[in-house]
Each structure stands twice: as C-alpha cells, then as structure tokens.
C-alpha cells in the first residue's frame, strides 16, 4: 500500500483538504500527483469567464470572489469561497469552460488539480469518481439554492 503520510515533494497532500477526506490512497496519490500549489495576490484573477476550465481548485487559505458580468454593467460578485472550500465544476462538464470570473479578494493559496488528469482518474476508478461526485453535488446544490434566493429576492417581499 502506498504510504500517504509522507508526501513526496512531487505529490500534493490533497487529502488534507476536507473535500478529499476519506478517499482511497491510490486515488489520492494519482490525483495528488496532478496537483500543484498556486498563490494569488489580492485582486489577481484565477481565471476568466469563457476560458477553458483546466483545473479544479481546493482553497487552502484566502478568499475568492466568483463574478459574473451583469448585462454590460459592473461585474457582480455572486459568491465568495474561502478556506476548506472548492471552486467550480466547469472542469467536469463539457464544454469545460468557466461560467464566471474568479478573483482573489485577499492573498490566496490553493491547490490546483489538472482537470484532464482528474477526469482520467475518475474514469479509471468509478467508485472513487462517484464519491467525488457526491462531494461535488452539495457544492452545486448550494450554488442553485443561492441562485434561487437571488431570483426570489427574498429580502424584499
């Protein structure tokens, strides 16, 4: 069995992030090998809407704003994502393009997992892939619930 307690320099210990708690060591090893640490300064963009979604991000520290263009007006932040949370699912769903801009609100450190390698790892191990989807669905559900409340404009009945 692979020893996951002592990560080699070329492997990011993604299991330290709550999103990857409880996955099989082999899967963690494979996915961790496709991960790298990245840092962003305040106001620096992680990615822009419409560009290829080439990574899945695990936020380690800091805060990231997801922004959408508001019909020609100034951009609108629709969600912020902080430590122990993850960014996006566009990397999983064709056409694999980001649906929003992501901007660091303060110095932010994250683990970026290569999307193609992650998709390949999921395809190669459907059980772990299913587990990953089950972790991702609540992220989607929260975004949906949020969008629903934004549409209902519940604070202004």
């Amino acid at each position: 069995m692979t020893d996951t307690r002592f990560p080699t320099p070329e492997r990011i210990p993604i299991e330290d992030h709550p999103f990857f708690h409880g996955f099989d060591a082999g899967f963690l090893h494979r996915v961790g090998a496709a991960a790298e640490e990245r840092t962003f300064a305040a106001d620096e963009f992680l990615f822009h809407e419409g560009t290829p979604a080439r990574a899945f991000y695990l936020v380690q520290e800091g805060k990231v704003a997801l922004e959408i263009g508001a019909g020609g007006g100034p951009p609108l932040t629709i969600q912020t994502i902080g430590a122990r949370e993850v960014i996006g699912w566009s990397w999983l769903v064709p056409p694999h393009r980001w649906r929003f801009d992501a901007r660091a609100l303060k110095p932010t450190r994250l683990h970026s997992i290569d999307a193609a390698a992650l998709r390949a790892a999921i395809d190669a191990d459907p059980l772990q892939g299913y587990r990953l989807l089950r972790r991702l669905v609540p992220v989607l559900a929260e975004r949906l619930e949020m969008a629903r409340l934004q549409v209902l404009d519940v604070h202004r009945r």
Binding site: K63, P75, M146, H155
Partner: protein
C-alpha cells in the same frame, strides 16, 4: 389630535388594549435607502412599558393604519423606544417617513419574545437575514449585558447587498469585540465589497459552537430561516432549542381577530417566536 388625546386614560385607569398611546418621534435615523430607525417617547412624559427581547408593538400612523413592528431598542433602557421600519407598503412607508416632532400611536408590547432563560449557560448562535436584525438586537444587547451567563456567541448577518445592511456602525463595533464573533454576508455585491457573498448557511461551518449545548435565534425571510434551522439541526442543535420569529400580517395584535393565524397558532399571541420543533411541518407546507 383630540381623538388620540382622549384615547389616553387618566392616571390609574387600566389601559384599553385597543387604544394606541401617542408617542413623539424624537429622532429618525436613516439606516438604508428604504429603512429608518425611529426613536420614540411617550407624549405624556411617562415611561414606556418594559419589554422583553423579541416582542413587538402595534404602531399606528394616524389616518393611514397600523402595523406590527418589533422593538429594536435596549431592554435595559425601555425609556428609549426604538423601532426600525422598512418602507414595504403603504403603512410602513408612511411610518418610515415620520419626521422628528410628529406623533405616532403605539400599543404593546405584545408577543412571547426570545426565550432568553433557555439560552443561559449555552453557546448562542444568532442568525439574522435583512430586517431580521432589529428584532434580534435586544437579545444581543441582553446577552452582551450579562455576558457571563452565556457560552460562545456567534452572529451571522445576511442581507441582500452591502447597502441593505442595517446598524452598520454598531455591527462594526461588535466586530471589534472579543466576546462575540460576527460574520456578515450578502446575496450579491459589486467589486467594492471584500466581505463574504453567499447564504447565511454557508457561514455556519465557520461558526464556533458546540451543537448539543447550543441555542439558536433566527429571524429573517422564512425561506432563509427554514434552510438555517435545517442546517443547525443537521449539525446537532436540538430542534426545540432553535427559535424562529415568524411574520404574519396582523390586525389586532392580541389574539382576537384571527388575522395572523398560522396553522393552529396565532402569531401575535402564541408567537412571534416559536421553536423549530413546533414549526417544522408547517414551514414545509405552503400557504399556511
């Protein structure tokens, strides 16, 4: 105003619960574009009645109508009656427009209020959405005035957008305190906002409390309270210690007219504060 003056009984006569007592607007503070805080004093110079956190008054704008408004003042200083009103319809709009020196009618306080005694010795989680903060402010002030009686205090305050946040300055002073933690989040914001954007429920994992020994106070849009109550229960907070303040249109405020019926309860008499354990089924059904 003779009709109003004659409504005030001379010394010793028990007050008629239907008759509003005239109060003068001492101060009017604009909170947001559509929300103001009115500071009121009885015109006859006597003290306003004491109130419990979470109670409300029926506030009357003469010639326009009467609405239920939560008391947002300090329960230790009932002489300063405070109401925060959002211009949402005809009556509230007129009330929010009341200028210093003008007269409004007040009857109350009514309702059950927050069960502060059930929070003693416990961690307290307070979740306010939008205009849910004013009814929770007296509870917060009471906890802060007797801080040793309670465990940790976690406040989560959500609003539609940054300009919709009420009590901005006071929230900033709370942020600087070490004996409470407050997280502020909005539904959407422009680039100038560097705070959190998202549901109040998304802030719960960052709140520090011990679920089995926690009591929670929730006030805000019903859907927000429902999602929050569910999340708290899932985290392990007992449903009978999660309290929600319900809003229903009111007429009499004293359990006589049935206007505020909510299932088997009258919100004015049996509420507005109810434990989640008593509401869960009703909340999940529409049109009750």
């Amino acid at each position: 105003m003779s009709t109003v003056d004659s409504a005030v009984p001379a010394g010793g006569v028990p007050p008629n619960p239907w008759l509003p007592r005239p109060f003068r607007v001492e101060e009017r503070v604009a909170e947001t574009g559509d929300t103001v805080t009115l500071c009121l004093r009885p015109e006859d110079g006597t003290a306003p009645p004491p109130f419990a956190p979470g109670q409300f008054n029926m506030v009357y704008r003469f010639g326009v109508g009467e609405v239920a408004v939560s008391i947002s003042g300090d329960p230790a200083r009932p002489e300063e009656l405070r109401h925060t009103v959002r211009a949402a319809g005809k009556i509230s709009e007129s009330l929010a427009g009341a200028a210093p020196g003008e007269t409004v009618g007040v009857r109350g306080p009514y309702g059950t209020g927050w069960p502060m005694e059930r929070l003693a010795g416990r961690d307290v989680v307070v979740v306010a959405g939008g205009l849910g903060l004013p009814p929770l402010r007296p509870a917060l002030l009471e906890i802060l005035a007797h801080r040793e009686r309670y465990g940790r205090l976690e406040v989560i305050y959500g609003a539609r957008s940054p300009p919709d946040l009420v009590y901005y300055d006071e929230v900033q002073t709370w942020r600087r305190r070490s004996d409470l933690r407050i997280q502020v989040t909005v539904d959407a914001a422009g680039r100038e906002w560097y705070g959190d954007v998202g549901l109040v429920t998304a802030r719960l994992p960052d709140a520090r409390f011990d679920p089995p020994r926690t009591g929670a106070l929730l006030c805000g849009p019903e859907i927000m309270m429902r999602l929050t109550a569910r999340a708290l229960e899932q985290a392990g907070v007992p449903a009978d210690r999660i309290f929600l303040s319900m809003e229903r249109n009111m007429k009499c405020g004293i359990g006589s007219c049935g206007h505020c019926q909510f299932g088997q309860s009258f919100v004015c008499r049996d509420g507005p504060v109810f434990p989640y354990s008593a509401l869960r089924d009703r909340l999940d059904r529409r049109e009750i």
